[in-house]
Every structure is written in C-alpha cells, then in structure tokens.
C-alpha cells in the first residue's frame, strides 16, 4: 500500500466525493469530516514513512498514460512537496470541520473533496502534463465554490479568477510543449517527466523564453504584481472556506511551481531574471501592503496581505541559495497556515454580522475576547513575529536574498514594517476602542466548532515557529539537491557564481552537524 500511497492520497477524496452523492444531506458534514480526517491521517503516514535523509523523490509511482507522446502518470514527493501535501489535507480537514455554510452543504463538501484531489495531485505530480491536469482542474471546484456560495459579485469574481489563471496556464502549457519538444530534439524521445527535463541543459536564450512562458502561468497563480487583481475579488467574494483554501493552498501552487520547474530547469534564466523578479517582489511587498492599509474591508486586508507575503516567498525563491529557497518553501507553509487561519477568523465574524467592513466593528475585543486573542496571535504571526511560523520563513527568505543584493533586501525588508502597519491598524479598528455599534454588543464569542478549526492552527503556527526543524530539515535536504543541480547545470559564469556550489561547502555542513 505504501507503494501507491500517493495515488491513494490523490484519488481517495475523489472516490469519497463520488460516494458522497449517496450520503444524505444531514450526515454529509460528518461524512466530509471523516473522509478528510482519513485523508489527513494518510498524509501523516506519508510523512512518517518519508525518509528525511533522502533528498530525492520518494514514493515514486509510474504508469504509462500516453506513452506515444511521452506522458506518464508519474508521482513522487520530496521534502518540498511533502509538507504542502500535508498542508492541503490538513486545511481541507480544518475547512470542512469548521464549515458554517448552510446552503447546499452536500454540494459544497463534494466540491471540496474534489478540490482536495486536485491539490494533492498538483504537488505530487512529477509529470508536467499530470501536473498541468491537476493544476487546471483545481480551478473548476474553486470556480464553483466562489460562484455558488460567494458574495454579491461572485460571478464576476469567479469568472475573473478562472479566466485569468486559465489564460496564464495556457501559456505555460505552450512552454511545457516547447520543453518536451526540446527534449525530443535532444534525445529523440518524447517526455514530460520533470525529472527527465532536469537533465536537459538548454542554451540560455531558450531558457529565457521558456522561463518567461512558465513565468506567466506561475505569476498569475501566485499572484504576482501586476497580475494580482483577480485575487482581491476572489477573496472578497468567496465564502470563508473558499478563501481559506485559496489562500492556504492554491496560491502555493504558483510558488511551488517556481521551485519545481523554473529554478532547476532554467538556472541561467533564473539568474538572468533574478533582479527583475526581485523588483516585482518588492513592488508586491510594499505596494500591496499599502493597498492593504487603505482597505475598508477586513477580508480585503487579509487578501492583499497574502499578495504581500507572496512577494517575500518569491524573493526567497529567487535568492537561489539554500537558505532563501528553504525559507521560501517554509514560508509557503507558514503563509498557508496563517492566512488560512486569518480567513477562517474573518469568516467567524462574518457569520455573526454578515459584514466585513471594519467600520462596522470596533471594540470587539471586549465582546469576543477569545476571538480577539486568536486573531491577535494570528495577526502577530502574519506580521512575522519570531517564534511564530511566519518568521522562520520570512527571516530565511530575506536572509537568503541578502546574499544576492543588499539594497533589494533592505527594501524588501520594509515588509516587516508595512506589514505591521496595515495589520495593526486593521486590528485596532476592529477590536480596540469601545463598542459603538449596537449590533456588536451581544456578539457570541467563538464557539466550539470554530475553536476546533482554529486551535490546531494556533498550535501549528507556534509549534513550527518554535521548532521548525522537523519540517525544515527535509525541505533543506531537497532544496540542497535542487541548488546543487542548478549550480551544475548553470552555464553562464554569472549563474555559476550566484548559485552556490554546495559540494564545496559540505565541510561546513558536517561541521554544523557536529554541533
């Protein structure tokens, strides 16, 4: 069974969703929780069975799908994808457990389970086409979730979300086909296997074009400035569960893909584009933080803050050294946990008041102290306070990029300031002061169902902030192999120089292990 655990992980929720059509409406919730819990346990088992010392792919599965065109059903996880998969299953579980939606709950849960399949699929796929299949397929349930359970502008938002990302990924698809074609030119075989592609050393100008093609697909998904405008709409209109999954997992697909595709496949292009992308990242960080500051709707604040944080992730990714990339991968998880939690929290208040405008609130801290506390913890995590999960990622990402550029890191570091500004001011508007709005006077504090979702997140947010090693270790090993691969593949002298050669520094690693 362990040989096919990834297949199991991917298709178990889908199968369960199919069977879910039979389950009656009343018991659907329990069914959803049970399924997602089993799935989560399975993913934990994956972690348990994962050998953290191995840097390469594990649990590889392979089955020919369209061998005539080099497409195979190829799965595997390494330290980078392992935890994002766990995050996906975790958040689906949390999301379903804390569902407060009443309308068409059955459809919603079935959709969520399908979504879970696509999410796990994206992160487990090692074949570009399989990856693409899940990548695109994930749009559909999300479209439905936003469009059917969303706010007043839901249709606009969902279509915008879908078409925008769809457009980007189609360009990416062309890039993939080119990659396969070049592989075919080089070897005479068709292959879409990512691992095979890793072996291909492309001339630099090809790399640049392909990088650009992939970049558009990924950048829209991340979303990177100036392709980010679908996100506020999607978040603003999506129901809580939609925002949670979107922020926690779907956005990670883009950044994950950078690490999985762009870096190892196009090392020279990555170096070439490092600074332009860093500039974009800075714009994302500062500009969107400012936009977040100007928001009147708390959910939009969180939405824009996502973009801002994704900027840091991008920056870390393009640090092109182990510290930065590990940091950015870790920050993906961190941001998933934190922004997911924040959206859940926003959902809590929305359920009670059916408004997300901050001006409607004020003084909530005295009415809902538990809520305010959890919100405060998550806000501080979002701001990147040490010993919370975000800090580890942010610190490492910025640290990593510092190696490449001092000035850019200094500018990007403004993230910790502007982040504090919008978050604290939003918190102040909502929670501090006196209760002026009568409607807020008798709000109920978070109930048990909600706590069920929130407490684990708080625990994770602090646990991994204090002791990130069990996660950071495997990530580090896999990232090291990627960086080494990049260094070995790099052709231009600049790339050779910018991407560290780890085999030289193996001494240092062993020295540290002596600690």
């Amino acid at each position: 069974m362990i040989d096919h655990i990834l297949t199991l992980l991917i298709f178990f929720p889908a199968l369960a969703a199919m069977l879910g059509f039979v389950v009656t409406k009343d018991s659907m919730r329990a069914y959803g929780i049970a399924v997602s819990f089993i799935e989560f346990v399975l993913s934990l088992w994956l972690w348990y069975a994962y050998d953290p010392m191995v840097s390469g792919m594990q649990f590889m599965e392979s089955m020919p799908l369209i061998p005539a065109f080099g497409i195979n059903y190829l799965l595997g996880v390494d330290g980078i994808s392992l935890f994002i998969i766990i995050l996906s299953t975790f958040f689906t579980m949390i999301g379903i457990a804390s569902l407060t939606e009443k309308r068409h709950l059955k459809n919603l849960i079935i959709t969520l389970l399908f979504l879970e399949m696509t999410m796990v699929g994206v992160f487990a796929a090692l074949d570009a086409i399989v990856f693409y299949v899940f990548w695109e397929l994930s749009l559909v349930p999300m479209l439905y979730i936003i469009g059917a359970w969303g706010g007043p502008l839901r249709i606009y938002a969902s279509i915008k979300f879908f078409l925008y990302t769809f457009t980007g990924s189609l360009i990416m698809l062309v890039g993939m086909l080119f990659m396969a074609y070049f592989y075919n030119q080089a070897t005479g075989m068709w292959s879409f296997s990512i691992l095979e592609w890793y072996r291909l050393i492309l001339p630099e100008n090809f790399q640049l074009w392909l990088f650009a093609a992939f970049f558009i697909g990924f950048a829209i998904k991340v979303p990177m400035f100036p392709f980010h405008t679908w996100l506020p709409y999607a978040h603003g209109q999506a129901p809580t569960i939609g925002s949670v999954i979107l922020a926690a997992i779907l956005l990670k697909m883009g950044t994950y893909a950078f690490v999985r595709f762009s870096l190892p496949m196009f090392p020279d292009a990555s170096v070439y584009f490092m600074f332009p992308i860093a500039i974009i990242a800075i714009i994302m960080i500062i500009y969107t933080a400012m936009v977040a500051y100007a928001q009147e709707d708390i959910k939009q604040v969180v939405a824009y803050s996502s973009v801002s944080h994704m900027g840091v992730i991008i920056l870390g990714t393009f640090a092109l050294n182990v510290e930065g990339v590990s940091g950015s991968v870790f920050l993906m998880l961190a941001h998933g946990v934190v922004s997911g939690a924040l959206f859940l929290l926003v959902g809590v208040i929305y359920d009670r008041r059916h408004t997300k405008m901050m001006s409607e609130f004020g003084g909530i801290a005295s009415v809902m102290p538990r809520y305010a506390t959890i919100f405060g913890i998550m806000m501080m995590a979002s701001v990147g306070l040490p010993l919370t999960i975000n800090f580890v990622g942010e610190f490492l990402s910025l640290l990593g990029f510092y190696k490449q550029s001092h000035m850019i890191t200094l500018t990007a570091g403004v993230a910790i300031i502007v982040g504090a500004i919008y978050m604290l001011s939003a918190y102040k508007k909502m929670f501090f002061g006196t209760v002026t709005n009568e409607a807020n006077r008798n709000l109920k504090d978070v109930n048990r169902t909600e706590l069920l979702g929130l407490i684990p997140l708080v625990i994770v947010a602090i646990w991994l902030g204090v002791y990130p090693k069990p996660v950071l270790g495997p990530i580090n090993n896999s990232v090291e192999s990627i960086i080494q691969l990049m260094h070995d593949k790099a052709q231009s002298p600049e790339a050779k120089e910018r991407i560290p050669n780890l085999s030289d520094s193996s001494k240092i690693i062993s020295m540290q292990e002596a600690h």
Binding site: I66, I129, G147, I159, V174
Partner: protein
C-alpha cells in the same frame, strides 16, 4: 473504331466501394420497406440505419486491416482511394452518424422522424461523405459533396418550422455559390495540369516547378472559398450559426462534426502538397485564415445569448483550430487533427444532445430562440446530474484537462510547437482562454444562478432511453478520453503516416 475495353474485375477492386454501397443499399432498403408498408414506427428505421451503419463500420475496419497490411488501396480506375485518411475519416463519419441516429428516438414527436425518407436520405448523405473522402478525384469529390449536401438541406428543412426552412434556404443558396467556386477552382486546376485528380495535379505542378503560380493561386483561392464554406472558415462561415439554430439540436451537433471532417480531408488532400512545396502565399493565407477563424468566431461566441448559437460559433472556432493542422502539415499535426476531431465528436455531440433532450416545442415566453441561457439557470438545483454532465461537456470544450478535448488541444498545440509555429501555438492557447469565457457562462447559469420559476420541467422533457444512452456514451468518452488517447494516437499516426501525410 472503338476498341473493346478489357478490364479485369479484380483490378477494379470493387470492394473499395463496399462501405458506401452498404449505406446506399441501406437507404434503398428503407425506401422499399416504406413502399411495401407505410406508417411504420421510426424506431424500425432507426435500428435499420444503425444496423447498416454497423455493417459499414465493419467493412471500414476490414479496410483498416487491409490498409495496414498492404498500404493504400486504389480501386475502380484509381477513382477510389482508400488510404489512411479516407479510412479514418470514414470511421469518424460513421461513428458520428451512429451516435446521431438514435437521437431520433425522442419522447416528443418531431416532424422529420415521421418520414422514412428521412432515414434514407440520411444514409445517402453518409455515402456522399464517404465518397467525398475516399477519392482524390475532384469530380467524385464534387458529386459526393453535392449528394451529401442536398440530402442535408432536405434533412434540415424536414424539421418543418419557419426557422428550419430559413436555415435550409440559406444553407442551400450559399452552398450553391460554394459549389460554383468549387467548380471554377477545379476548372483552373484542370487548365494548368490537365487532370482532375489531386495526385496528378500535384505531380504536374511539381514538374513545372509551379511556374503557373498565378493560376495556382487563383485556383487555390476558389478552392479555399469552397472548402472554407464547408468547414466554415471566416468569412465563409456566416451560414453556420443560422443553420445550426434553425435545425434540430441533434442535427446541428451532427453538422458540427461529420461534414467538417469530410471537408478537412479534402482540404488536406488539396492544400498540403501546396503547403509543403513552399507556396508561401498559401501558408500566409492559411495562417491568417486559421487565426481569424479561431479568434473571430470566439469573439462572436462571447456575445451570443443562445446556447445553440454559442455552440455554433464555438464549433467554428474549433474548426479553425483544427485547420491549423493543414497549415502545419506535419504528420504530427495531421494526426492531431484526427485525434482532435474524434475527441471533439464525443464532446460536441454530447453537448448538442443535452440541448436536444430539453427541446421544448414552443419558445419560452419572452425568448426568441430555443435555448437561451436563461433556460439553464439553476439547473444544478433542479437537475443536478444533467447540469454536471452539461458542465462537463463545456469544460471539455474549453480544454480543461483531463477531459476529452484537452488532449486534442495538447497534441495540436504540441504539433504547432514542434513545427516551429510558436506564434500560432500561442494564439491557439490564448484563444482557448477566450473561449473559456462563454463556456463558463453556461456553467455560471447552470451552477450559480437561481432557477427560473416555472421552467423547472424544461429539462429532460424530450429525453428517452436512447438519448440518455448517447449522453452516457459521450460522458464516458469525455471523462475517460485520457485512456483512449494513446491507442488512438498510435493508430492514427500509423494511418496518417502510411498515407504519406
């Protein structure tokens, strides 16, 4: 004085006529039965048609085996040409027809199915298409085309309402013009090569090193206009939406598949040798044509308020997409064309069948067409399975993996990439994105809006077991296409490659 001509029967290879003859015989049998005893129920004719089509398919599969063994089979003074393209196209034609004909078994009664002649004409039409693809003789192509077209006009009109007459007349008139173009184009080809057989024309032109370039271009121009009409290339597409709207949904779905594949095969035979010989003009023209057809049709589909018209424009766009194969002209591209069309048949027929099952006899109040988007609003609440299936077809048409059409698109764009048409590949990709909008629009109506009061019973009102079966087949074909792609790809590549394309 006239010498007696000795022709050995064996050299005629009479068998090459078998598939078409089966269809014709079927038609005649139906006519005879009707004469013998009138007023029989349509189910008899449906099943008879199905049986003959099965026989037809059987003979084609037989040919497929022969082709793989012996290569291209010529017959009847080399008029008949059973190469890989012909066999593939005929299989698609026959399978498409087999999926279509059970749609006659609706629970509501429509005018056309009251005629046994309807089924006879249908089989005649199939034979016409089969002739059209199974020859490289322009004369036979022309007659095949006309046989099929004339039958088709009648089939459209038999739906018997003002719109279907309008559609038939429009189609007929424009078809007549296109026929004129075809004849004129053939004439010029004949003038410069002294032949009406495409391979002969190709040989002569090559030997002349394309010195009559002006003539060639004029001929090609007329041919593009004629075949472009058939496969609805912009600006020869104008009939498509109207005719689709006027015909019954089932026939519209059929028209979006079968006549076009015949058109594609003719286009492949006629244009690809020219493209390969570096007639730059043709490449440019086809490039422009393909891009405009894809894009403009997409853009127009965006603004439609009727699902059937939307699907009509979308099928134009798909045709444009596939036309790219003829421009690219590699084996991979041609393989892609057939793969795409095979996958497209299932999905598109499924989509049109979904329209067909909820066809009501009278227009909805306040609507001017049969299938306005509003009709589908909130369908997920009243008819969840139906909505899911329709949504599935839409997703497949939009090219969302892993549903059927995605693999076709993948392979087509892949072939564009392999042939160095980067710009084309990007345009194809972006067009898929534009197309996403209007497919989504229907999904939005079905899944995200509230049902209209009083319309709940519209769905599946016309459904019957056979219709549902067809939809089921289409759904299965759409979802599990991924498993069919590899074998299809292998077979098609073999056929196309061995036919020299």
């Amino acid at each position: 004085m006239l010498e007696p001509i000795h022709v050995s029967l064996a050299s005629l290879n009479l068998a090459t006529l078998a598939p078409m003859l089966i269809a014709i015989v079927g038609a005649l049998v139906i006519l005879v039965i009707d004469m013998a005893k009138g007023g029989l129920h349509k189910s008899l004719y449906v099943m008879l048609s199905l049986l003959f089509l099965l026989l037809d398919l059987g003979s084609l599969i037989d040919f497929a085996g022969l082709f793989l063994k012996n290569g291209t089979i010529l017959g009847f003074f080399d008029v008949m040409l059973m190469d890989g393209l012909a066999i593939l196209a005929q299989i698609i034609i026959v399978v498409g027809s087999m999926l279509f004909i059970p749609l006659a078994l609706t629970s509501k009664r429509f005018h056309e199915y009251n005629y046994p002649e309807y089924f006879a004409l249908f089989l005649f039409m199939i034979s016409g298409f089969q002739f059209m693809v199974a020859t490289d003789n322009l004369i036979l192509i022309f007659i095949g085309l006309e046989t099929a077209s004339l039958a088709l006009y009648t089939l459209i009109a038999l739906h018997n309402r003002a719109k279907s007459f309008e559609a038939a007349v429009k189609y007929f008139t424009m078809g007549a013009l296109a026929a004129g173009f075809f004849a004129f184009g053939s004439m010029i080809f004949y003038a410069i090569s002294g032949s009406v057989e495409i391979n002969q024309i190709a040989t002569v032109l090559a030997e002349d090193h394309y010195s009559n370039i002006g003539y060639i271009l004029i001929a090609v121009t007329f041919m593009i206009a004629a075949i472009g009409f058939k496969i609805s290339m912009v600006p020869f597409h104008t009939w498509t939406p109207d005719v689709y709207e006027g015909s019954s949904a089932a026939l519209a779905g059929y028209m979006s598949i079968v006549p076009k594949i015949a058109g594609f095969v003719v286009a492949m035979r006629l244009f690809e040798f020219l493209v390969h010989s570096g007639v730059a003009w043709l490449q440019v023209i086809l490039y422009i044509g393909v891009v405009i057809t894809m894009t403009a049709a997409n853009v127009w589909a965006l603004v439609q308020s009727d699902v059937k018209r939307m699907l009509a424009y979308s099928s134009i766009s798909h045709a444009g997409f596939v036309m790219a194969a003829i421009l690219i002209g590699t084996t991979q591209a041609n393989t892609g064309l057939f793969l795409y069309w095979a996958l497209f048949s299932f999905t598109n027929l499924g989509a049109f069948t979904m329209l067909w099952v909820n066809r009501q006899k009278n227009l909805l109040p306040g609507q001017s067409s049969d299938h306005p988007y509003e009709k589908f609003s909130g369908m997920v609440k009243t008819m969840p399975m139906g909505a899911v299936m329709m949504g599935l077809f839409m997703l497949s048409l939009a090219g969302i993996p892993p549903f059927g059409l995605f693999w076709g698109k993948l392979y087509m764009i892949g072939s564009a990439v392999s042939a160095g048409y980067t710009g084309l590949a990007l345009i194809m990709a972006l067009n898929s994105a534009i197309a996403g909008y209007y497919y989504l629009k229907l999904i939005v109506f079905m899944f995200m809006k509230e049902p209209m009061v009083g319309y709940e019973k519209m769905y599946f009102m016309n459904a019957s077991l056979s219709l549902k079966t067809i939809i089921g087949i289409a759904v299965v074909g759409t979802i599990f296409a991924v498993f069919a792609v590899n074998p299809l790809l292998k077979v098609i590549t073999l056929f196309v490659y061995n036919s020299g394309y």
